[in-house]
Amino acid sequence: MLSGIDPIVLFFALGLLAGVLKADLRLPPAIYEFVSTLLLLAIGMKGGIELARQPATGLVSDLALTLLLGILLTFLAFFILRALGRLDRANAAAVAAHYGSVSIGTFAVAVAFLGTAGIAYEPTLPLLLVLLEIPAIILGILLARGIQAGTPWGEIAREVLLGKSVLLLLGGLVIGWAAGPVGLEPLAPLFFDLFKGILAIFLLEMGLIAADHLGGFRRYGLFMGTFALLIPPCFAMIGIGFAQLMGLSLGGTILLATLAASASYIAAPAAMRSAVPEANPALSLTAALAITFPFNILIGIPLYQRIATWLMEMPS
């Protein structure tokens, strides 16, 4: 018995293994949809309940700082990819959009970790998550195409703002806030008690999906592998810095670090595919799904937790 290992991480490993071995294991897309819908609503509702309990303070400056963080990370990624990776403009912009944006699956795992460790976090974090999804995508398109006349900004905004994740997170947040802790009690068995089990199934599926993209590894060479492995901890440090500026608690700091470290594999790919079609979608997806996601799940989150704890326990 390996005490200390969180079993949900093992589900990811199981999926990865099954995928690599090309085993006959696959979850139907309908289940993936169901499971991710439940997770998004649950994360949103958790935030909403807390918001109903203790109204957020200093929200406006936090939101502004979050936007700034998204912009900063995207620019940073873009310049590294251009200067060191020698990627062409379109591909650099597309990959940067992925890394400036966030992964909700990674966030869910971090939330589960905090739950196990009994560490609280600010109820506004799901809101910051939503906000952090957006600037990177818009910036990525701008970096790829410049400010052209033909860009269908309306369509792009619609796609990003009305994407499944934004909608369910914000919807859950509002529902949680409106119904409050007591009103949501009858929904707790599905959304809260099953949360970690559902997350385990989600991670099993993510393992299978990540395995599908492992092949891309070789093709895109050493630079992209290194990039996908080193960006997370670096960006996590920047996230911790911003968390300090916002005065977040330990839990909030760990979550913001995780968000910064994570790379989008749902919203960003869809937006880049339609707005920057000349970028190779396999390049970003391989990096985000096959390297950065596993790294964050297996090593990153515990690492960020340790660093944040160490930093915040320092006498200031």
Partner: protein, 104 residues
């Protein structure tokens, strides 16, 4: 065939990325297509395997029955718009239809 279905039309089949569905439908409707059928598919082509059971890399199969000029128009426009950057394949066949009025 005798009598019944003697009007000739073209059947244009398009296989492409499922994430293009909304855009492509808007496009062909703008070109004047009034009827089409879509089903889900997977496959392999120049752009590699598109068979993941995940939205990102699955295909759709679009069928359009219409007259020759419209088929050519759609073919040209889709080629211009999607050929360079997207996984897409198209082919055209002859079909006989009942009720030619339904197929422009």
């Amino acid at each position: 065939m005798t009598g019944l279905a003697q009007t000739h039309r073209k059947l244009l089949t398009v296989i492409t990325e499922s994430n293009l569905e909304r855009d492509l439908v808007r496009e062909i409707e703008a070109l004047g297509v009034r009827g089409y059928t879509i089903s889900d598919a997977r496959g392999r082509g120049d752009k590699g395997l598109r068979a993941s059971h995940w939205g990102h890399s699955s295909n759709i199969r679009v069928e359009i029955v219409c007259d020759t000029p419209l088929a050519e128009l759609v073919l040209t426009k889709l080629r211009e718009k999607y050929y360079e950057h997207y996984a897409i394949v198209m082919w055209v066949q002859d079909v006989e239809v009942l009720r030619p009025d339904k197929f422009r």
